[in-house]
Amino acid sequence: MTDGALASALRALPEYLGYHVLLSAAALALGMLLSLPLALSASRSPRLRWPLLSFVSLVQTIPGLALMALFYPILLALSLASVSLIGRGFSALGFLPALLALTLYSMLPMVRNIVTGFANLDPALIEAAHGVGSAGARRLWRVGGPWFAPAAGAGRRAAAVWVIGTATLATPVGQTSLGNYIFSGLQTENWVWVLFGCAISAILALIVDQLLALIESGIARRRKPRILAGGAALLIGVLAAAFTVLMPASRPGYVVGAKHFTAPSVLAALIGQRIEAAGLASTLRSGLGWAGVLSSFLTGHPDSLMDYSGTIWANVMRRTDNPPREAMLREMAEWLKREHDIVLVGPLGFENAYALAMRGDRAETLGIRSIADLAAHAPSLSIGSDYEFFARPEWRSLRDGYGLRFGRRREFQSTFMYRALADGDVDVISAFSSDGRIEADRLIVLDDPQQRIPPYDAILLISPRRAQDKALLSALESLVGAIPVRRMRQANFMVDRPREAVSPAAAARWLDSQSSSSPRENRIDD
């Protein structure tokens, strides 16, 4: 069942590469379509030149991931507006934000090179062009066109290399790309995958760069065969990518969404397997990040996903009270149905709450067992967390309730956060209670006597679009209460462990074999 890392990477290649090529090609094509007329008009109008160049330069200073992320709220608002206007929305995650961000990204080198290419035109040539009777766009093309072709070509190549590299950042906004290797690999410490993703992306960039250079030299030296060969190679690449990626989509499957963390990826795979066991088709839409998962329901995709009750309670329902688990779930189910027609199938059986964890030996030395004990030592300790924790209501609630004041706060990608704790760089971390590394690293989860952290039951949700879908509901109902926390930790650890790590799909198959043999085991809480 254990996949060789390279073998599994190769198996995912057609899909990841296909999406990567399509995304990059679409962004470059769109970028070119926008850049050429904009740059040409800016070349003729100094009043337009400054704002245009400033804008494309400004875009370039925004980190790629942030630029994609910024499109999410904009597109979500547009999509919700379109839902209320024409009754149909579109997905604010995935292809669209990635495409728009990459398009903007591609524009700087293209616009700047064309504009400077024109600025460097020999004035005598411009006069000659005037003198022979050229006018307007024809003059620009006749004299300028071939003249700036090398500059524009260099801009195009720079844009291509940037876009192909930056497209790996489309993964966190839910667009499959070669970035899936990198982000999954980082998450699971699968360095073969990380390297593989980087290498393929670099090779792709080099190939495209060389093909564009071939076309360019064909234009400069007026060799039609070169232009045709380069163009044909690029076209074939894009068509092959489109064929690879769009063909599987022809099967009408249920789309299962997952956040880009271990447990959600394993569970998404498990949900997919259950759907397929019921004789239905399913597609995984991995890499949905942040709190955007529920919002993505409202715009149509995906069909089913898992989330945590605490997230919905605090972030979506904006509740600050902390009722008992059963009451909370009941109220949440009613609220989701009433407000959004979302079906809460039920809890999966384990909880994955934020929890403060310490190394067992360290906690013992300091005599810390609960967060209340921790508060006294906090000023001399440092806490590490993921990027999300300090912005969440749970943290504010803990901080204010226990009077927590840490000496130092640091944020990590979650894998490195565990490493930092093991190495003694930080003393306390914000762990997830179902994380496999808690047992593996001999960590202690601190008690929360004031019950400041709301329950974080893993719950199964079905989108409004599929709310009446009996087949889907019955396929998923079998998962309710089927996964105790210990099993989930083991499954997580199978994926996260540094040696002999397996794919989320393999862990899901293992989980499935376990849960069917001993259904409805009671939840175990820490």
């Binding site: 005598a124 006069e127 003198g131 022979v132 009777g133 003059r139 006749r142």
Partner: protein, 270 residues
């Protein structure tokens, strides 16, 4: 210079033309009146900054005058778009001005192309012009940087004549060439002027060239016309000392060459 009939009959007429660059008090050309008859070959001479190139460029609107009227074939040049006007006036550039990324044939064919001539017609016109400027037909496929300076300017002239203009403007066309090429090309140009029945205006600072090629010389100084007549008239009866010196230079040099031939020592006369 009388208006009325001259204005009607002239191929080119300039009336009270003035041009200043920027807000300076200095005029590049000031209150110029000039009528150029059909079929004449006019040389505009003067030192740098005398305004001769400015005046030439006003004719095809590469420069717009601040004041005055310019008529080509009796029609004010401002009546139609500048690029349309230019397509019907041949222009040979100082420093040649060929497009380096276009082949010789494409350079020659650029104006017919802009005028929308059909391709076969452009091709046969290009062949015709290569013959006219005495270049082999296979030069059409070459790029400009593969040609000598003289050959390039032949292409420049061919390009200017491509759309069969009645008027040919030349801005120091032979300035960058060696003396022998200059003479050959000058003669070729004069020949074309006659066989094609052109009206030619040439700007030059080489008085030799002006005397030998033109049938009318206009001398400019500080933006004004200071002399205007046939080479013979200006040689025999210059209006002032400076024009006399200017016109005397070719004669003086010819005299020294003659003296050398007669066996005099090759010393500079004191």
């Amino acid at each position: 210079m009388s208006a009325g009939p001259a204005r009607e009959a002239a191929a080119i007429a300039l009336e009270d033309v003035s041009k200043r660059y920027g807000q300076t008090a200095h005029y590049a050309v000031r209150s110029i009146d000039l009528a150029i008859a059909h079929g004449s070959f006019v040389a505009m001479v003067g030192s740098s900054g005398s305004g001769k190139t400015t005046l030439l460029k006003c004719i095809n609107r590469l420069i717009e005058p601040d004041h005055g009227a310019i008529l080509v074939e009796g029609q004010p040049v401002s009546d139609r778009p500048a690029h349309e006007l230019r397509r019907h006036i041949g222009y040979v550039f100082q420093g040649i001005g060929l497009f380096p990324h276009l082949s010789v044939a494409e350079n020659i064919g650029v104006t017919p192309d802009l005028l929308g001539w059909p391709r076969p017609e452009i091709a046969s016109r290009v062949a015709e012009l290569l013959e006219l400027v005495e270049l082999p037909a296979d030069y059409g496929a070459r790029m400009p940087d593969a040609l000598s300076g003289g050959q390039r300017q032949r292409i420049g002239i061919a390009r200017a004549l491509a759309a069969r203009p009645g008027i040919l403007l030349m801005d120091e066309p032979f300035g960058a060439l060696d003396p022998i090429t200059r003479e050959t090309l000058g003669n070729a140009c004069r020949h074309l002027h006659e066989t094609l029945g052109l009206t030619t205006v040439m700007v030059t600072h080489d008085i030799f060239e002006a005397v030998l090629l033109a049938d009318r010389i206009v001398v400019l100084r500080q933006g004004r016309i200071v002399a205007d007549g046939t080479p013979h008239e200006l040689l025999v009866d210059p209006p002032d000392e400076e024009v006399r010196d200017l016109m005397a230079m070719p004669l003086r040099q010819a005299g020294r060459v003659q003296a050398l031939l007669n066996g005099a020592p090759a010393a500079v006369p004191s």
